[in-house]
């Protein structure tokens, strides 16, 4: 509701303003020569209202330009000059001592006089409103503190003392106007000291401002001089509205005081303006540079940026960078200098006995090192900074001057800051490259992991005589665990568990390979020893010298419960029965360890006859080498205990019990290796019953 009202107010501001002006005009026509206090008050109230709405309407005009104070000052200067010109022109029309002609004319009830007075005073109201707004913007410009209360006090006194002029008729009430005016002037003086914004101007702007303030002071002085007694300003305005006249006077005083302050402050700021400008350039250069760093550019681009910016801030004529590595030197990012000349300066620098440390700036005076005879280009002063580069390299930033002006401490500090930034940027780009590499590796691991999961049996074989469970828990880094089952014939089920040495993609590839090899070699007529020997022979062609695979391959007869297997370097095969656990470690070396006959001759084939509910347990070292927070291994003993305690359970529950125990044990440590657990429980007799 309030919002709606505000919107209507906003839209109707111009209407109200225009209506106000119309009312004012009609009022003037009706009561031009006013005498009574009531009529005076009504007259001035309408004027104040018009002024107020004019301020609201043109506020936007000034507000838009608030960031260019020079333009604002310039615009009031122009307006003020125009209004003075207008007033003086109108003054010359009416001859007579002390503008009496004009006063007489305005006092006439002649419609021409009324119209003239109305137009010229409306213009003055506009100028005052505009100036008022500009003063307001200048007052709040670049202020960090909340100064609203100061400003509000000023406005209140300004309005009160202006309005108090309606009491001019009463001699004994003059003290009110005097007191209010005095207070207003004090407040004006206090508030005029708030001109910190000029510090933010550059040298050129300060010069312009100085010129403008001189103009302003002159104009305001003239204005004030004409606003009292029988001055032209007074003559024109006071008849129209006494409040307006007094407001005009006060605002002119404000202008005079404010621009007086401004003039002297600007004058005192002028000598330091250049230094301030330079500081500003430095700050923006550093700002720019720190922004560039976060974008982590191409290394070459970054060097270019360094020399370019260094050139700007250190007042140098040439700049370049030399990257020094272990064996090579690389001159780059040349600015205003040829490669040959850069090399000459670099050679000259290397002749200097004292070396330069990292993050240190050293200046040298060269004895007019002639760069080009035709151009008569010389190098007199050189400043050198060293910074950390890629890997073991370091960069040296050279800046040099044609003139014999030594680099001062400040410039050296700046160069230092620059190269500090460069070091950070280089470090950033290194970190980025590293994280990209890490991401690539992670991606690779993900691929390897997917590959591994696809290679494992998607579905376990089912038979009424066997209860099979297989668990595979991948580690973060892909290990090379693998297990599989082969339906060799109606009776025999082949099984294999393997662990490929190494990790990552290469392990996953080897895994893929042995899966194919086992699939081809696992035949019902081939005994496990024969199968593994064949697999080893085939692997010779593809496996590299450093890789090997530990494995257990065998088969179980579903009908008889006979298990035949060989162990090629793999951890033990365990048989869990009611009576206890038997661990089998028959001789045999890992696949790929040797391709000589030793592999076959040492490989021992084991044959075991299972009892009802006996379980074959196959595992990889991911289980026994699972580590707790003290880096202790889970170990074979603990594994046996868990199996012992759960030996009456189904294959599935036994498996869960083991995995639960292992994960609880290692919950405070990361899983380093894949965990694979395969359990085959023979339960033929139970089924028969």
């Amino acid at each position: 509701m309030l919002e709606l009202l505000r919107n209507i107010m906003k839209k109707s501001r111009i209407q109200i303003l225009l209506t106000g002006l119309l009312v004012l005009f009609v009022y003037k026509v009706l009561f031009n020569t006013s005498g009574s206090l009531i009529l005076l008050v009504i007259n001035d109230a309408i004027v104040v209202l018009v002024f107020y709405y004019l301020v609201l309407v043109i506020h936007e005009l000034v507000f838009r330009k608030r960031n260019s104070p020079i333009a604002l000052v310039f615009s009031i200067l122009i307006l003020l000059a125009i209004s003075l010109l207008l007033l003086n022109i109108s003054g010359t029309f009416f001859k007579g001592e002390d503008n009496k002609g004009l006063i007489e004319f305005l006092k006439n009830n002649d419609s021409g006089a009324i119209l003239f007075g109305f137009i010229i005073n409306t213009f003055i109201i506009f100028v005052l409103a505009y100036s008022f707004l500009v003063f307001r913007e200048l007052f709040f410009l670049k202020q960090r503190r909340n100064l609203n209360s100061y400003y509000t006090a000023l406005i209140i006194f300004l309005l009160l003392s202006s309005f108090s002029t309606v009491l001019d008729e009463y001699e004994n009430l003059q003290f009110i106007k005097l007191a209010l005016t005095a207070n207003t002037i004090i407040l004006i003086t206090i508030n005029s000291a708030r001109i910190s914004w000029i510090a933010f101007l550059n040298k050129k702007e300060k010069r312009q401002l100085l010129g403008l303030t001189v103009g302003m002071i002159l104009l305001f002085s003239f204005y004030i001089a004409n606003s009292t007694g029988n001055g032209i300003v007074y003559s024109t305005i006071s008849h129209f509205s006494k409040t307006l006249n007094h407001f005009n006077l006060l605002l002119s005083i404000y202008g005079l005081i404010y621009f007086g302050f401004l003039f002297f402050t600007t004058l005192f700021h002028l000598p330091t303006a250049e230094a301030y400008d330079r500081k500003a350039t430095e700050v923006s250069a550093l700002q720019y540079f720190s922004k560039m760093i976060n974008r982590v550019l191409d290394f070459k681009d970054m060097l270019e940026t360094i020399t370019e910016q260094a050139l700007n801030v250190s007042n140098s004529d040439h700049a370049f960078i030399v990257m020094e590595g272990d064996s090579e030197e690389n001159v780059s990012a040349l600015k205003n200098i040829s490669l040959t000349n850069a090399n000459r300066i670099y050679t000259e620098y290397k002749k200097k006995p004292e070396g330069i440390k990292q993050n240190q700036v050293v200046s040298y005076s060269f004895d007019n090192l002639l760069l080009s005879k035709e151009m008569n280009e010389k190098v007199c002063e050189v400043s050198v900074t060293k910074f950390k580069g890629h890997n073991s390299t370091s960069g040296i930033l050279f800046v040099s001057r044609k003139e014999n002006i030594p680099y001062d401490e400040e410039e050296k500090n700046l160069l230092q800051t620059f190269t500090d930034y460069a070091s950070i940027a280089i470090e950033n780009s290194r970190l980025l490259a590293e994280s990209i590499e890490k991401e690539r590796l992670e991606q690779e691991l993900l691929v390897a992991r997917e590959m591994q999961l696809k290679l494992l049996p998607q579905k376990l074989p089912e038979s009424k005589e066997l209860e099979i469970s297989a668990v595979f828990i991948p580690a973060f880094e892909v290990g090379g665990d693998y297990y599989d089952f082969f339906e060799l014939d109606e009776d025999k089920l082949g099984f294999v568990i393997a662990d490929v040495s190494g990790k990552g993609v290469s392990a996953a590839f080897i895994m893929a390979e042995i899966r194919g090899v086992f699939e081809a070699m696992a035949k019902p007529e081939s005994r496990p020893k024969q199968t593994l020997t064949n697999v080893n022979k085939i692997l010779e062609r593809s496996l590299d010298k450093k890789s090997f695979i530990s494995s257990i391959y065998g088969y179980i007869s579903k009908r008889s419960g006979e298990v035949v297997f060989c162990r090629a370097g793999h951890p033990s095969l365990m048989i869990s029965s009611i009576s206890g656990i038997e661990e089998y470690i028959p001789a045999g070396c890992g696949l790929g360890l040797t391709y000589s006959d030793i592999f076959e001759t040492t490989l021992e084939e084991k044959c075991i006859k299972l009892e009802q509910d006996d379980a074959i347990i196959l595992y990889t070292d991911g289980i026994t080498e699972a580590k707790n927070s003290e880096s202790e291994d889970f170990g074979i003993q603990k594994l046996k205990e868990v199996i012992q305690n759960n030996n009456r359970e189904t294959a599935e529950s036994l498996s869960s019990a083991i995995i639960k125990e292992v994960t609880t044990f290692s919950e405070h440590n990361t899983q380093h290796d894949d965990i694979t657990l395969v359990i085959i429980k023979w339960k033929q007799k139970t089924e028969n019953k």
């Binding site: 070396c589 030793i598 040492t602």
Partner: protein, 114 residues
């Protein structure tokens, strides 16, 4: 990661390579470099002293396999000595004793070269 260091000493014409700490995928290249060093100096009679070794992973085992052929074809050998029980267990499980000479002490391994 885990620390690892090597040290080489000569006993007669036999080079004894001391290995200390942990050998895993990250430190295996260091071991590889040490053995490679001996081979480039034509030292083919190598005894690896495992006394100070706490753990060896499959990547570490692979290093010995990478060099054994070259060493043996140059009338030398890599003998493994003075292993802690847990380290020996790893070698044993994989069947290394079937292919490599593993002795209780360095001296024993050195005398076997004579």
């Amino acid at each position: 990661m885990a620390e690892f260091s090597t040290n080489t000493r000569e006993i007669g014409n036999v080079s004894v390579l001391e290995v200390n700490g942990y050998i895993d995928a990250h430190t295996a290249p260091q071991l590889e470099g040490a053995i490679n060093d001996l081979i480039t100096r034509n030292k083919y009679k190598i005894v690896v002293d495992f006394d100070g070794l706490k753990y060896i992973s499959s990547a570490g085992l692979g290093v010995f396999m990478a060099f054994i052929e070259t060493v043996r074809s140059n009338e030398g050998d890599i003998k493994l000595a003075a292993m802690q029980p847990n380290v020996f267990n790893i070698f044993d499980l994989l069947g290394f004793p079937l292919l490599y000479e593993i002795t209780h002490s360095v001296d024993e391994a050195v005398t076997k070269f004579k």
